[in-house]
Homo-oligomer: 354 residues x 2
């Protein structure tokens, strides 16, 4: 969501990383861990996932200070078989836990062909595509599911928000083309988009939210009087439910009523659940052949005929690849309001400002 | 889609099965295989998946007679590792191939915890939930993806139908409650629903289809002037693409331009791709605990507060469980038009009628 309407300053990814690492070190996260978290959070901003990058830093720090997150977790494999593992994150920062779990999945998929790693006792880990994309470097497909950290979605026909926007991300390696990276919530709009509309004083289109009477809700300032709508009606409800059960219930992590709203609660562990699957292409066919097939498919889609008024047919992940190319060269644009909030945090933590 | 508006006769599942088996034997399918196919097709009708049960028999027989399907396939594991297998269906009936693949996934998941089995050189195999549900009896979760057998969906913004309604099905075992079974196409409506509307002379709601100018298409008789719409716009396009790549491209099966429309072609093998994943609950946590958590979640959802005018909050799979209970007791309702078509087929094949 790069937004040219809001004045922004460009900060290099390296400066973002160093700042984030300083902040975590200031709340007793070991330097090596702070560095890992910082690198992943900056990567989120670099790929254009602004709602899941440094924007979340004040909240993460607040929750660490509130005692909700363990800064010295003993992340471990709790259960294991040839094609799976269950990782216990010991309530550590989600980025640390998910990096551990994804590396485990990749390692196991090298011999098992496919490895499914479930995660419990984790926390918010940033954008889904961060982890789905990690297997790409090993010529593997990555598939990630998670239970969101706040319930904004009722079951279809209901008004009690028992479900989150439980996302799916899948990353598929290509040859000459860029990798395909799908990263989506199971709701029409993510809750962050609603907040952005409210900040700008804009109305939402019909179809994003509904009020408790079942009427369209288009004023984002009234967001707490209603709820998000799932994609495809009952189908999106089904996907949110199933993805949540695979990432949460199966792993003994929070799901349904047990989900803690990490926006309004700084003291309670969330027991966030995720699932990451690494699929080793080589186990199915020669990697070069597969990549060639992906390239052909991408080109067939991109070059296919378009509806009137459509300039380009997009491949999932194109936006992130473009953001990455721009931002690694020119820096990450940070809105002034965010910069101000981050530098206020720096003052509180007594660390060097951005 | 039980439909009370169309006169129907009730036929027992056992009579359906015997009839289907007779038909396949008449076109040289070995009796043991004919029995397996018949059992699965009748199961589709029993669970209410009418569009994927005996309704498809004339088409299946036509394609066998046309030489498109191999009636004596050597279905085999082409590649294998601890957490995966790739099954080569040798262009056999999809039901035979998918039963083989699902049994393989279940067998492997007993030791590997999770097993992902890809399938190539298969054919249309009936409803997705048939295979996703097979692991349930082993206290496993089943996850199924497939490439559909006709392209009705363009990429988002496009008009060339390069994608099918690529479905996902996930089945999750419960304790005292019924299992959760999601089975959905990634389009707002499946193509079968469009055909049904046309047969009845009814109009479609806006949102099902669009014409090549981007305008809503509501007359099902003009269906060939447009295409289906994905759930959630670009999100459903992304899901159809990704599910198709996991079930098709990864396995060396047809995807994109290579998909054969099995409705209009009786001679060309489809090289249909599927993926079935068996997830052994026991590898993650004690089965009884998991089932208890599922029961709690189901009840929390069912008992949650409803929108005005909503009688009941549904759990995915409820409709199928209800249809099964009714139809095993009272028989499967077959519309007179379908009965007539089936008995005409019986005449052609010189087998006993229904």
């Amino acid at each position: 969501m790069a937004d040219n309407a809001i004045p922004a300053r460009r900060i290099t990814a390296s400066d973002l990383e160093k700042f984030i690492a300083r902040a975590f070190e200031a709340v007793d996260v070991p330097p090596a861990d702070a560095k890992i978290i910082a690198e992943l959070m900056a990567r989120a901003d670099v790929q254009g996932s602004e709602g899941h990058g440094i924007f979340r830093l004040p909240q993460y720090i607040r929750r660490i200070k509130g005692g909700a997150v363990n800064v010295k977790p003993k992340i471990k494999v709790a259960r294991e078989a040839a094609g799976m593992a269950l990782v216990d994150g010991d309530n550590g920062m989600g980025h640390l836990v998910m990096r551990f779990a994804t590396e485990k999945a990749i390692e196991k998929a090298k011999t098992a062909g496919v490895a499914w790693v479930g995660v419990k006792w984790s926390n918010h880990a940033g954008p889904a595509s961060l982890y789905a994309s990690m297997p790409l470097a090993h010529d593997m497909v990555g598939l990630y599911l998670a239970v969101g950290n706040a319930n904004h979605l009722p079951p279809w026909g209901g008004i009690d928000m028992l479900l989150s926007t439980n996302p799916i991300a899948v990353a598929i390696p290509a040859g000459d083309e860029q990798s395909i990276v799908l990263d989506m919530a199971t709701t029409v709009a993510a809750y962050g988009k609603v907040k952005t509309k409210a900040q700008r004083g804009e109305m939402m289109p019909e179809g994003w939210m509904m009020d408790r009477e079942g009427k369209p809700l288009t004023d984002p300032k009234r967001a707490n009087e209603g709820f998000l709508l799932p994609i495809g009606g009952y189908k999106g409800y089904g996907l949110a439910l199933i993805f949540g059960m695979l990432a949460g219930t199966l792993n003994g992590a929070a799901m349904g009523k047990d989900v803690v709203d990490f926006n309004s609660d700084d003291a309670t562990p969330t027991n966030t659940g995720h699932a990451i699957v690494a699929i080793n292409v080589e186990a199915f066919q020669p990697v070069a052949e597969f990549k060639k097939s992906v390239d052909v498919l991408v080109r067939d889609i991109r070059n296919s005929r378009r509806l009137p008024g459509v300039d380009r047919i997009h491949i999932p992940g194109e936006g992130s690849h473009a953001a990455r190319a721009d931002r690694l060269k020119n820096g990450v644009p940070l809105p002034e309001a965010l910069l101000k909030a981050l530098n206020q945090l720096a003052g509180e933590l007594k660390i060097a400002k951005l």
